[in-house]
């Protein structure tokens, strides 16, 4: 059994990370999940949250992501995020910008869509709290 797998994090604008990882914690739409090597193949959507990657050397890095999906198979985990940033102080400003936007949309949205956007806002707020 392989001990590591390939981890990729890409956003539409660039590739943020590509490394060997032993485990990746993912904020999937239906709850957090952790992918390890030899995971069964799964494709799932993301909610805003932190992706935590444990590298082959045991170092842990985290990335803030909003939206997108993740593709997991035995050899690789690929996160395709609509917005992604390294989970540190620099990215906070960007994320707060998203939150601002989302809040504005939440007030404008109606019906089913409103629930979706409100959940998005709540997820983002949670994400910002986690990052502190």
């Amino acid at each position: 059994m392989a001990n590591t797998m390939q981890f990729d994090l890409v956003s539409p604008e660039k590739r943020l990370a590509s490394l060997e990882a032993t485990q990746v914690q993912i904020p999937a739409a239906e709850g957090d999940m952790t992918a390890m090597p030899d995971h069964a193949p799964v494709i799932t959507t993301l909610r805003p949250g932190l992706v935590k990657v444990t590298g082959a050397d045991g170092s842990e890095t985290s990335f803030a992501v909003t939206g997108g999906f993740v593709e997991i198979n035995a050899e690789a985990t690929s996160v395709l995020a609509e917005h992604a940033a390294a989970g540190d102080a620099d990215s906070r400003a960007a994320l707060e910008g998203f939150l601002e936007d989302a809040r504005k949309r939440a007030t404008e949205a109606e019906g089913d869509h409103k629930d979706v956007v409100e959940k998005f806002v709540a997820d983002l707020e949670q994400l910002l709290e986690d990052m502190v």
Partner: protein, 294 residues
């Protein structure tokens, strides 16, 4: 015969033109490199997205409850054409080739009795199409304030297109842009984005994907979530290709202009020297014949 002063002025003016075109060429070269990098960086995302979507579309797309963005409205009567051009000129045939492709399509559709609607992105395409098809315009998206097109801009455009689709404004949406082949070659490309078409995964790829994926929450759920993103991604890719093509076309055009200016300067300089020589000869003749008369 222009006077010596006129010639001198013309040479100076062509020289300053050459300086400008040379500078523009160098700026375009630098921007081209940046645009190519951006296109390169965006590729992994677009490719993965495409692969996942075609897999999903193949399994869900045929069923009756497929989303309308894939299944379409069952009609192709109202056609929306999104023509993407540049905001600035001086880039050779870049805008004309897109407009030409769009014109062809419009004529073809109108001949088939379809209703055509046009959305233009970029000032140059609007100027060219307005002459003949002003009555078909439904919107213009102004990108002149946007320095570097980001994913969010593309997502915004995609969202407004999907809203229009949801409101039943059109049945089929096609985008026009230039695909970047090389610095000297850009290919006008026509791509249908709504209803979404995906290349069927080829047999080889299907065989290599030995383990079929589980989808969470469900195939339909994932598809519904990803479709809008996929359309945004396609528009974003088109923007990036267009940006690279524009700078490539501008670079080639400016290179030609610089060379032409150089040739012109040579010709004018020869003419200038000849006239100067002629003037000197004339003066000499006058002096000699004056001396002889004495």
């Amino acid at each position: 015969m222009p006077s010596l002063k006129d010639l001198k002025n013309r040479i100076d003016s062509v020289k300053s033109t050459r300086k400008i075109t040379k500078a523009m060429q160098m700026v375009a070269a630098a921007k081209l490199r940046r645009a190519q990098d951006a296109a390169e960086n965006a590729r992994p995302y677009a490719e993965r997205m495409e692969a996942v979507m075609s897999g999903l579309a193949a399994s869900v797309g045929d069923s009756d409850n497929a989303p309308r963005l894939i299944a379409g409205t069952g009609s192709d009567q109202v056609q929306m054409l999104v023509v993407m051009t540049s905001e600035r000129g001086l880039c050779g045939g870049f805008n004309s080739s897109i407009v030409k492709a769009a014109r062809l399509k419009i004529q073809e559709l109108q001949a088939a009795g379809k209703t055509v609607k046009i959305i233009t992105i970029g000032k140059k395409g609007r100027e060219q199409l307005k002459r003949d098809y002003a009555n078909l315009f439904v919107a213009h998206i102004d990108m002149s304030d946007v320095k570097k097109v980001g994913y969010d801009d593309a997502a915004g455009i995609a969202q407004s297109l999907m809203d229009r689709f949801a409101d039943g404004e059109f049945d089929v949406c096609t985008i026009f842009f230039n695909r970047f082949v090389s610095v000297i070659s850009q290919e006008p490309t026509v791509k249908q984005i709504i209803p979404a078409v995906f290349d069927a995964p080829d047999a080889e790829a299907e065989a290599s994907a030995a383990a079929p994926y589980d989808y969470e929450p469900s195939e339909e759920g994932v598809l519904a979530d990803l479709l809008p993103r996929s359309i945004s991604t396609q528009i974003f890719t088109a923007f990036l290709e267009n940006a690279a093509s524009e700078e490539g076309a501008r670079m080639t055009a400016m290179d030609n202009a610089t060379r032409n200016a150089g040739e012109m300067i040579e010709k004018l300089t020869i003419e200038f020297n000849r006239s100067r020589q002629a003037a000197i000869t004339n003066e000499l003749i006058e002096i000699i014949s004056g001396a002889e008369a004495l």
